[in-house]
């Protein structure tokens, strides 16, 4: 995948569930190497926009543009993954290979090696044989990221990946995402209700608030200008000490 190539886009999309539109006029594109944060209040429609972007939800109007088949690694909200299942961390991570294997085919040696590399890459290689349900919140999150990486994705999508984590665990996960984005040129799309957290890492932001019918996308540094923030939130907002992430070109990425 060449740097900057368009991976997926929503063009004038109306997104929602059933026949009920939540947000209209969504314009959003993700290119190779992007780090996009989808932010907004709880219940604001962030996950709906992400689902539409990934093709898990058909737009009610407008279209989803997909220039070439897209390998997606997805990390759901941790609460959606039921810890009752008797699976080891490695068995969870192996699920990432599902799209790459024909139905009914077993994992081969190369697949297992890729899974083990993904676990090691995110720092939980030594936990491979541990039951997923016995891992800490941060370890589970890393295992889910390893599962997403095992899919050999061009786009890594994460839904509230730092929810319920302590500040140190949160920073660990975000640094990992930064590294994957910088070193591998992996496109990252991250949903969060925490603008201050996302702003430190994402180079572009998409602000979503269905209650106000608002969808606004732009480079993080522009979106975080005091005037832009005031326009988004309808009142003066100050993000204490946040330095927006540099745009991809400024980071020296290819």
């Amino acid at each position: 995948m060449s740097a900057g190539a368009l991976l997926v886009a929503l063009r004038g999309a109306t997104v929602g569930y059933g026949r009920r539109p939540l947000l209209g006029g969504v314009e959003l594109s993700v290119r190779a190497g992007d780090f996009l944060g989808i932010v907004g209040p709880n219940g604001g429609g962030k996950t709906t926009v992400l689902r539409a972007l990934l093709g898990a939800l058909e737009p009610l109007a407008g279209r989803r543009e997909l220039p070439a088949p897209l390998a997606v690694g997805y990390v759901p909200q941790r609460d959606l993954v039921d810890p009752i299942w008797p699976l080891t961390a490695e068995e969870v991570a192996r699920m990432g290979r599902a799209r790459l294997l024909r139905p009914g085919r077993r994992l081969g040696l190369a697949d297992r090696e890729t899974v083990r590399e993904a676990l090691a890459r995110v720092g939980v290689g030594e936990l491979a044989d541990r039951p997923f349900r016995e891992l800490s919140g941060g370890e589970r999150q890393r295992t889910l990221i390893a599962r997403a990486l095992a899919a050999e994705p061009a786009l890594l999508a994460l839904d509230e990946p730092t929810n319920g984590m302590d500040p140190a665990g949160e920073e660990d996960v975000l640094e990992l995402l930064d590294t994957l984005n910088r070193e591998r040129g992996l496109a990252v799309v991250m949903v969060s209700h925490r603008l201050d957290v996302v702003a430190r890492h994402a180079a572009a932001l998409c602000y979503v608030d269905q209650a106000r019918g608002l969808v606004r996308t732009g480079p993080a540094d522009e979106m975080l200008e005091p005037e832009a923030l005031a326009a988004l939130f309808g009142r003066p907002v100050r993000l204490g000490g946040v330095v927006p992430a540099a745009a991809p070109a400024a980071r020296g990425r290819p």
Binding site: A56, P76, I84, A98
Partner: protein, 247 residues
Amino acid sequence: MVLRRTVFVSAALTQLSTLGLVAAIAVEERLGVEVERAGVQLAVAVAFSVAGALLLSRLQAGRRLPSEAGVGIAWVIAGALAVLGASQLVHAAHDLGSMVFGSAVAVPTSELAFLAAVALGCAAVHALFVRELVLVSFDAETARAMGIRAGGWNAVLFLTLGLAIPPAARAIGALPTFAFLTLPAAAALLLAARLPRIFAVAAGLGAASAAIGYGLSWTAQLPTGATMVAVAGLALVPGAALRLLRG
């Protein structure tokens, strides 16, 4: 279904299967059919069960009702209609008890052969597609995001249930069928830690409790279906004791 936290789907499908059986017998009586056609009755029960399974596989939480409510509604309506239908039967009303609780002592060889064939077919589908079925059961959201047809695989899983339940319910009754879909799996989850071993232990416990319960019902002159269920319930004890000991 135990791990999916949807055990009552099995209960709803056994009720739907019983309703299909009652409907088939009622139609036979209305048409004045002299000799009961077990094959036709079973086919109608399978049709009811499969239709219910496909419907329940698509059940999603709405804005006002959780999906469990849909399962409960299917169970209770099917149960009530089966009782109402059976109350209108002239000749076969006495069969309702064995439909619900089962007899398991006078099952024709042809029905046993059909049950074995369906069970083997379903087990083969589960074994072949275990990776896909576990993924959509464990994390359907991620499966959909990865471009996997979660709804389709869900339907496959429910379809196997819908096919296997009617011949089992016809042979041993609705209650023992539901019990054997739940108790051995729950006991195995308490005893074993890894998924392949859990499947094996559940199958072994199911077979053992059926055999022991059957033998016990003969020697102690007890109702067969209920005895098998009670023995399957006892299979929970070692696992529960183990959990207690391990804290």
